[in-house]
Each structure stands twice: as structure tokens, then as C-alpha cells.
Amino acid sequence: MSILQAKNLRKIYGQGENQVKALDGVNLEVEKGEFVAIVGTSGSGKSTLLHMLGGLDRPTSGEVIVDGKNTFALKDDELTIFRRRKIGFVFQAYNLVPVLNVYENIVLPMELDGEKIDTAYVDEILDTLMLSSKKEALPNQLSGGQQQRVAIARALATRPAIILADEPTGNLDSKTGQDVLSLLKVSAEKFTQTIVMITHNDEIAQLADRIVRIEDGKIVSEREGR
């Protein structure tokens, strides 16, 4: 069963001569539990695609269905709430809330939702990502790798339908990047999570179950990972 479906997505910036087709009819389906990597050069439209999939930006046409729900039929605030329940994000720049400590960052989406925190589950995630000892630390007291692991923990904590990762290793050296990614993959499997990751790094992409290549706003090839 597909948990994420993009149907004929288009995103066009500008008008007339200046028109830029960032996405030009993308169709994509992701199964539950799958780990998909989207690769492409810069300007290929991969980030735009991710923004569309995550409901951060609205497409010019087409639809995105997450967990059976057409996301762009939702109003802005509904979409925001949908996002914090169904989608976990991991960004290149980690994007942790600097004024909150590790634990608070992780449970923030749930708190915003007014949910009761499943502390056992959060502890398990912290354990899996080897962050248990850093629970009270503030983001600026952590290394890049640690910060990115916190971001992953935050994405996992809400038990979202999918996790979207935007160049999660882009700011890390290759060794740390590999480590973080392994942890991402391990924890995704452990907690049966679906991951869509964009990267320009083919080596990193190899870790995925499926690699989708995008160029000039179109999907040009799809193949199995290792």
C-alpha cells in the first residue's frame, strides 16, 4: 500500500520569458516502510519536490496524497497541523530550536499538538540514536552529528507517516554523515518508518531501497539501491 503519492506535480515560477519550471509533471509513489532517495544536481528541482511532498509549499498543479489524504485540499493551518502529525522533517542545517534543550526539541511537535508524551517511546528513540546522555544539552553545546541525530529523533518522535530528509548529511563530514545516515536507516527500520531523502551524493543514496533521479523537474530514472 502506498503511503505517499504525488500525482502530476507542477511548480512554475515566474511568467512568460522568465518562466522556470521547477517541477514539470512528477509522479511518485512510496510504499510504507520504504527508504527512497531522490538524487539530482543542484537546480534539478529535488528540493522543490521535497517541499511539495512535505506540504511546505503549494504546487501550481497536481496533488500530493499522504496517508490517504490530499494535503493541498487543506487550509494553511490545517496543513500545518497535518504536517506536525504526519510528517517528520530532517534538514541539512538541523534547524533545532536554539532555546530548547534536546529533549524539549524532540517533544516539541507533540507538545504543540497538546499530546501526552510517550516518554518510554522517546527514551527508546534517544537510546537508539545514542543521545540519552545529552537530554539536557542545548543545541549549541552539541556537535553537528549530534544535532542532526536530535533532528532525526524529533522527526521520529511523532510516529509520522513519512520522514522527509533534505540533504541530512550536507553539513557533516563524510564519516559522521555515514554514521548519522546508518542510524537513520536503523531507526527507520526499527520503528517501521518510511523515509524520503534528497541528496546529491550518490554514495549516500546507495543506502536507500530505491533511488529516484530527477533532472530539470522531471524524473529521469528509478532503480533499486543496494
Binding site: 511546505l56 504536517r83 506536525r84 534538514f91 532555546v99 530548547l100 504543540l112 499538538d113 497538546g114
Partner: protein, 879 residues
């Protein structure tokens, strides 16, 4: 969908707050400053109101809400236990002394407990309340009248009539020992002479032996509020099982409500006339506060936009983001508002005397209001200002698109590109930088310019007060000497001016010419037709019928009749008809007192007698008013229904006079009061013929020949008035000029403080904008330096930006002032007849250099702090 996420939103708000020190300090300052303005405004307003009430209470002799009268011990006990009565004071009246030397103002011998004494404005300057049997306290003036020195231990003999009894046997004479005294207050209607409880108790036994009613004991009470006092008193009566309607009943207890609370509109009503300026001022303060708090938060949101975008990405809704911003502001309010309220209250209390000095309320009625309304209203207004100010930044944070926030750099977003051939010049870059965020630039311009414009308006306003114009119109003679009550008219008849004092003055000063004005003791009346009578009733609401009224459809109405010596009549400027006829005592001429407008039209109704027509003046020595329901003289006129009353004029005489003129008597030598009937001016001799011995001197006015004489006279009169212990008062050119200067000073003071605070707000705003601008461009500035701009050039650029801000606002303010000055002048000339329009740029000359220095200094300081870190560090650091 309702979720409980408040706690989490609050947590983020709190944490963000601590991460943003500079913004917090500036915002808190702004909150404090605006809260000061609000609180000061409300403190002054309510204090003036309270002072006005106090002045009325002094005239009435007490500030308690109401009084239960003539109580037995048992009744007293029941009332004291009533829970609705918040506090009470007991008074037992031993008797009244209205024989010599207390003929003018009677003395009341009574026992008062401490509360009652306090409510009767008795503040001992020395000594203690009477406790021993023969101890007594009284005011200094009573002591003087008794020929005693204010020395504790002095033996004083008091001789007075017990209760209200006039019989000779009711007179008692006892010797007391003075144990305390206080300063005389001429506004209080009687001299209080207080004796001990023991004394009245023993006297009471004596009175009962004589077969008289026991001495009258009253209970003065205060409730939780002054609202709806009559129903409060009635409720207490009902609860205690008393009645105030059936005088013959065993449980009959009379009560009275202090009319002061009804005079002043139930204490708390402010008229529209006072409310409008307060509202206008409040709006100005709201606007001032808005300018800065909005700007500070707008900048801080713009700077932290990535942060808010991030929060949105991970699922913070628009509402929650607005709440995060709002909560931060509210947290700052927790610090700012209480500080502002306290400082503002202090400032208000300090300023109230200055404002009061310019009103008719005397300074010893000064009462600083402690009403919680001040703090509640100021707090709410401040909260409103803050919420208003952060609503837009909150919406901006809420609306942020997560994708854009991820790559946000502050920019105006206008796509226009200008072509330039001259490369990047430092000044050019500065201008370009200002253009990047036009909104912010305009905001700083406006907030800086606002303080300058207000400064200029205040300067124009105060400078336009023309003291010579004021003196010309308000002073007719060099000196007016009269009884203190003449100058502070309070509704009661004037005490006559003692002739010996005038003779003493005349003997000591060199006058060129002078004359008396006379008042009438008793009741001067004028005969009017039914139409005029009915019309007046609508204003006065008096309905007491007189059995010996004029008849034949005509009615007597009380009027004011001022008699004038020729000297004063020669001072009349606005008159129609022939005033000189008034000097002819055989002719029985009168002039009708009226306002004559600028087109020469007397403001009289159509019923008024024309010049040359006859008018009937009448005079009654007194009136007798009887309650038709009881057939007796009512105890308290004020509380009785007029339709139940019936009156009779006693000693009525009529005189027919001819109206020879309409005259607009200058206030300074007029009667200073008026009626709804026709008030008249007569020659002194004519008035004497009509009212005989009831004509008494009201004031004496005179001119001096030279300035030297005037100065000498000023000194002499000033001294004599001081020596008269508050009986004698005078007005002169010098006094009026001083009064006017006080009036001017009040506006300078209030305006000055307003300018300073708004100026501070403007400067804070400027500092915040410049510093935030520099800090948020940290990377950019570092990059500029990395590619070859020297530190000096960067500084130069920043200084130019600062100067553009200050000079720009200066020019804006100047333009606005030039445009609005004629309007301000026009408005002021319309409103204040003593205002002469003018224009000046002096305030700019003073303030602009300060602004320019700030414009240069602030950027240098901000950059200096920044440039301590190396360029590389600064580039690496992400905003």
C-alpha cells in the same frame, strides 16, 4: 479542535525572551515610559477631582458619606454593629456659641471621636485630643477671637447655649484647659471647639435634670463606596429596624447624605469636556507606545524570521506563533507595567499641585487620589498599547512561509534595479541601505519626528500665552481688596469687608482714585413675568411656592444686586445705554448685568426689560420655609422635597426702578456670581435707599498714580492680608500676572515632561533600529570588509545612515510644524482669547544638534562592539 498546548507555547515564548536581551531592555523601557504617561495622566485627573471633592467637603465641614442623627445610646450601638458601615465617627454636640465673638461664624462646642475629628478636617498642629474632663481644642482663629494665645495649658472660659435652646438658663459657662489647636481653615463653615467625652457625658446628666432633651449625638458613617448613598443609608436603617419617615415613631432615626457627593456628580462622573482631552492624550500615548513597541517587535521578528519559519515547519500554527510573540510582550509587561505605574503615580502626585494652582481649588484641598481606577485604567491602556503593537509582528511571524523563511534575508522585495555608472560610493550605499527596508525607515522617521513636532507644538502653545493681553482684559483696576470669600466664591453669601481694615489700607498706600462695591445681606429680589419664571425653573429646578409672591402672574426671583461707587462705574467698558444715570441717587436707575457679545448684542432673553423700561426690585430680610406635611421648619433643606415646602418672604419691600443701561461688568470687579433672574448694578446711593443698612461693602478697588506707588501698595497690601489670618484677600496686576505665569508654567511643565518622554521613546526607537540593523547585517558587513572595504569606510557608511535618520526626521518634523503651526495658532486663538499666534523654529535649533550627535554616536558604538570579533568569525557565524 481544542488542544492543550498553552504550556508549550509559553515555554518557547519565555525561552525566546531570554535570548534577546537588547530588545527586551528597549521594549521594557518603552513599556515603562508609556505606562508612566498613562498613570501620570490618570493620577492628575483623579487627584484634581478628589481635590475638588475635598474643597466641597471642607465647605460642608465633613467628608463622611452620611450621618445618622440624634441617636440614643441603644440606637448608636445597633448602628455601629451594622456590617455595611465600613467606618464611623461619633459626635455629641454640647451646644452652639453664636454670641460675640462668634457672631460672624458660629462656634460649635462638641465631643468628636478621633475618626469624626479626622473627617472634620481637624489636624492638630500641636497637642492631643481632649481626654481629661476640662480639656479643649480649637482652631487658631477661634483662639484669636477669644483673645488667647495658641499655648498649650492656656485657661479658656467658654460660654454657650446648650443644645439648640435659646433660654437664658440654657447658657453654660465653663473653664477649660487648651490641650491642642490646629490651623484655621476659612472654608469650613463653623469653628469647631472640641471637648472631652467625659465633659459631654456629665453635661448630659445636667441637661436631663433640667428637663431638656438629651444632647444630640450623631453617627457619621462611611461606606465601601460613595455610590447610591441614599439607598445604602435606607438599607442600613431597614436592617437596624429604624424608620426615617414616621417622626412620631419610637424607632425614628433621621439621616442625611453628605451633599458633597451629589454636588460632585456622585463622585466619579467626569464631564465630556474633561474626558475628551484625556482621551486625546491617551490616544497620543497609545500611538507613541505603538510606534516603538511595534518597531522593536517588527525588527526582532524580521531578524528571527528563520526561527519562526522553522517552528512553522515542524508544525507550529499561525495562532501559536502569534501567541509566542504576544506572550513575550506580556512577559515584559509584567516587569514594565508595575514599574511604570509606580513611577507614574509618583510623577502625577508631584505634578498635581502645579495643575491645581491654576484652578479655582485652593491648594490646601490638595488630595492625591488613591483610587484603584488609576492603576486599573493605566494598566489596561498600557496592555492595550502593547497588544496592539505586537499584533502585526505576530501576524507576520504567523504568515511566514516555511520555505521562504529557510532562505530569508531581509529585503524590501521590490524588484527594481537602478543602474549606476559611478560605482559603489559609501554615501550611496548608505542611502541604498535605507531603501532596503522602507517601512522601517519611515517608522523611525515618524517616531523621531513625532517628539519634535510635539515639542514644537508645546513651545508654540506656551509661548503664545500673552500675559499682557490677559491682564488688559482681566484687570480693571490696579488693586481689588476684599474678603477671602469674594475671591473664592463658593455659593454662600460674602462676608462683609470690615471698613476699619480698608481705612487702614487707605492710610498706608498712595491711591489715585478708588471706590467701594457693595453687596446686599438679606435677599434681593427682582419681579419677573410668568414666562421668565417658568424658563428659569427649568434651570434651577426650585419649586418652593411662596405665599406672598408678587401676584398678578408675576414672581419674585432672587437676584444679585451690586452697588458701585462712581469710580467703579467709570471702569465699565462694554455697556449700552447711559451708565452715568446710575450716579443720580434721586432717579432710581439700574443697569442690567449681562454678557455683551463681540457684535454688541446683549445676551438677554426676550422677556428682559428694554432700556428705559421699568423694573421692580424687591428686598426681603429673610425667608421662612415650612414643611407643609409637618407644619414645621424642616431640619435640612437640602434633603427635603421642594414640593412639600412652602415659603414666605419676611420684611418685604418693593422699589420701582428704571433700566438705564445693559452692562457687561468685568469679572474682576463684578459680583462673581449670578442667578437665573436679572442681576443688576446700581449706584451705591440708590442701593442704600432700597436696602438700607443691609448694604455692606463687598470689596474696595483703587488705582495708583505711578509704578512706584503700585509696587509700594502691593507690598503693603500683601503684608496686611497676611496679617489678617486669611480673612482679607486681594487681587492686583502683579498677582494676576503671577497667576498667569503659574498657568503658563503648568503647561510648560506638563508639555516638557511629555516631550521628554516621547523624545526618549523616539531615541530608543532610533537606537534599536540602528543597532538591530547593524547586528542583523553582521555577516554582510564582514563580507564587505573581506572584499576590501575598510573599517573606516564601514563606520562612515553607518554614520551616514544614522545621520540620514536624524536629519530626515528633523526635516519631516520641520515640514509638519510649518504646515500645522498656523492650524495650532488658529485653534488656540479660537479657544483662548489671551493667545497670540506666533511661529518659531527655536526648539529645532536646540534639539537637532543632539539628534545629530546621536545619529553619529549610536552607529559607531554599535559597530565598535561588533568589530571586536574577527572578520572570519563574523562571516562564519550564522545570524
Amino acid at each position: 479542535m481544542k488542544v492543550n498546548n498553552k504550556k508549550c507555547v509559553r515555554k518557547i515564548a519565555r525561552r525566546c525572551l531570554f535570548a534577546n536581551k537588547r530588545r527586551n531592555i528597549i521594549t521594557t523601557f518603552a513599556i515603562i515610559l508609556t505606562a508612566i504617561l498613562f498613570t501620570t495622566l490618570f493620577t492628575i485627573t483623579l487627584s484634581i477631582h478628589a481635590s475638588y471633592e475635598t474643597s466641597i467637603f471642607r465647605e460642608l465641614g465633613g467628608k463622611n458619606h452620611g450621618t445618622f442623627k440624634d441617636l440614643t445610646d441603644k440606637q448608636l450601638e445597633i448602628l455601629e454593629a451594622n456590617p455595611h458601615i465600613q467606618s464611623y465617627g461619633v459626635r455629641t454636640v454640647a451646644g452652639v456659641w453664636d454670641a460675640e465673638p462668634f457672631t460672624k461664624r458660629s462656634a460649635e462646642v462638641s465631643y468628636m471621636d478621633d475618626t469624626c475629628a479626622e473627617w472634620s478636617f481637624i489636624k492638630l498642629s500641636e497637642g492631643h485630643m481632649p481626654t481629661a474632663y476640662n480639656e479643649v481644642i480649637m482652631d487658631r482663629e477661634a483662639l484669636r477671637l477669644l483673645g488667647k494665645e495658641p499655648v498649650l495649658g492656656e485657661e479658656i472660659e467658654l460660654s454657650y447655649q446648650i443644645g439648640g435652646y435659646l433660654e437664658e438658663e440654657a447658657q453654660v459657662t465653663d473653664t477649660f484647659v487648651l490641650c491642642g489647636y490646629w490651623d484655621y481653615d476659612p472654608m469650613i463653615p463653623a469653628h469647631f471647639i472640641n471637648v472631652s467625652k467625659e465633659y459631654v457625658e456629665q453635661l448630659n446628666e445636667h441637661v436631663e435634670e433640667m428637663g431638656y432633651d438629651p444632647l444630640r449625638t450623631d453617627l457619621n458613617v462611611m461606606f465601601s463606596s460613595s455610590w447610591n448613598l441614599v439607598s445604602k443609608m435606607t438599607r442600613v436603617e431597614a436592617e437596624c429596624g429604624f424608620t426615617d419617615t414616621d417622626a412620631s415613631a419610637e424607632n425614628y432615626v433621621r439621616f442625611g447624605v453628605n451633599p458633597g457627593f451629589t454636588f460632585s456628580g456622585g463622585s466619579g462622573d467626569l464631564s465630556l469636556d474633561t474626558l475628551l482631552p484625556i482621551l486625546a492624550f491617551s490616544l497620543l500615548v497609545v500611538f507613541t507606545g505603538y510606534l516603538i513597541i511595534y518597531n522593536v517587535f517588527q525588527i526582532s521578528v524580521a531578524t528571527d524570521i528563520r526561527f519562526y519559519g522553522l517552528l512553522k515547519t515542524i508544525g507550529t500554527t499561525q495562532k501559536q506563533l502569534s501567541r509566542i510573540i504576544r506572550n513575550q510582550a506580556l512577559l515584559l509587561c509584567i516587569v514594565g507595567i508595575p514599574v511604570g505605574l509606580l513611577l507614574g503615580y509618583g510623577l502625577g502626585a508631584l505634578l498635581t499641585p502645579a495643575v491645581l494652582k491654576t484652578s479655582t481649588i485652593s491648594l490646601n484641598s490638595l488630595t492625591i487620589s488613591t483610587s484603584p481606577v488609576i492603576f486599573i485604567a493605566a494598566g489596561l491602556f498600557e496592555l492595550l498599547t502593547v497588544l496592539l503593537s505586537v499584533s502585526k509582528p505576530g501576524r507576520m511571524a504567523g504568515k511566514v512561509s516555511p520555505v521562504e523563511a529557510l532562505r530569508y534575508t531581509e529585503s524590501a522585495g521590490t524588484g527594481k534595479k537602478k543602474k549606476t555608472t559611478r560605482g559603489a560610493k559609501v554615501t550611496k550605499m548608505a542611502f541604498a541601505n535605507m531603501e532596503r527596508s522602507k517601512k522601517k525607515t519611515v517608522l523611525v522617521f515618524v517616531s523621531l519626528a513625532l517628539s519634535l513636532v510635539i515639542l514644537n507644538v508645546v513651545y508654540l502653545f506656551v509661548g503664545g500665552f500673552d500675559s499682557e493681553k490677559w491682564l488688559d482684559a482681566s484687570v480693571s483696576t490696579d488693586f481689588v481688596v476684599g474678603n477671602v470669600r469674594y475671591f473664592k466664591y463658593d455659593g454662600a453669601a460674602y462676608d462683609p469687608l470690615p471698613l476699619d481694615v480698608v481705612e487702614e489700607i487707605r492710610g498706608q498706600v498712595k491711591e489715585q482714585d478708588g471706590g467701594f462695591a457693595y453687596d446686599v445681606q438679606g435677599i434681593p429680589l427682582v419681579k419677573v413675568n410668568g414666562a421668565k419664571f417658568a424658563e428659569s425653573l427649568e434651570y434651577s429646578g426650585e419649586e418652593v411656592q411662596f405665599t406672598n409672591d408678587a401676584g398678578q402672574g408675576m414672581h419674585y426671583m432672587g437676584c444679585v444686586a451690586e452697588g458701585m461707587d462712581p469710580f467703579l462705574l467709570s471702569k465699565m467698558e462694554d455697556a449700552q445705554g447711559d451708565l452715568s444715570l446710575l450716579n443720580d441717587p434721586s432717579g432710581k436707575y439700574v443697569a442690567i448685568l449681562t454678557n455683551i457679545d463681540e457684535f454688541g448684542n446683549p445676551m438677554l432673553d426676550e422677556n428682559a426689560p428694554k432700556i428705559g423700561e421699568k423694573i421692580t426690585l424687591a428686598f426681603a430680610e429673610s425667608v421662612e420655609i415650612i414643611d407643609k406635611t409637618t407644619g414645621q421648619v424642616p431640619e435640612d433643606m437640602v434633603y427635603s422635597a421642594p414640593e412639600n415646602m412652602e415659603g414666605r418672604y419676611i420684611g418685604l419691600t418693593e422699589t420701582e426702578c428704571t433700566v438705564c443701561a445693559y452692562v457687561d461688568v468685568p469679572f474682576s470687579i463684578g459680583p462673581r456670581r449670578g442667578t437665573f433672574a436679572y442681576d443688576v448694578v446700581l449706584g451705591a446711593d440708590t442701593l442704600k435707599e432700597i436696602v438700607g443698612e443691609n448694604m455692606v461693602p463687598m470689596f474696595y478697588a483703587f488705582d495708583t498714580a505711578s509704578e512706584a506707588d503700585e509696587t509700594a501698595a502691593e507690598e503693603t497690601i500683601h503684608r496686611l492680608c497676611e496679617e489678617s489670618a486669611g480673612q482679607l484677600e486681594y487681587e492686583s496686576k502683579a498677582v494676576m500676572r503671577k497667576d498667569f505665569e503659574n498657568f503658563k508654567q503648568m503647561f510648560s511643565l506638563l508639555g516638557g515632561i511629555l516631550c521628554i518622554i516621547i523624545g526618549f521613546v523616539g531615541i530608543l526607537n532610533f537606537m534599536n533600529t540602528v543597532m538591530a540593523g547593524i547586528i542583523s547585517r553582521k555577516n554582510e558587513l564582514a563580507v564587505l570588509q573581506a572584499i576590501g572595504m575598510t573599517g573606516k569606510q564601514v563606520k562612515q557608511m553607518l554614520m551616514t545612515e544614522g545621520l540620514i535618520y536624524t536629519l530626515g526626521s528633523g526635516i519631516l518634523a520641520l515640514t509638519l510644524s510649518v504646515v500645522f503651526a498656523p492650524l495650532v495658532n488658529l485653534f488656540c486663538e479660537e479657544t483662548f482669547w489671551f493667545y497670540s499666534g506666533h511661529f518659531s523654529v527655536m526648539p529645532f535649533a536646540y534639539v537637532m544638534p543632539v539628534f545629530a550627535i546621536l545619529g553619529i554616536l549610536v552607529p559607531i558604538l554599535a559597530y565598535g562592539k561588533l568589530s571586536r570579533a574577527s572578520i572570519v568569525d563574523r562571516i562564519r557565524e550564522i545570524g
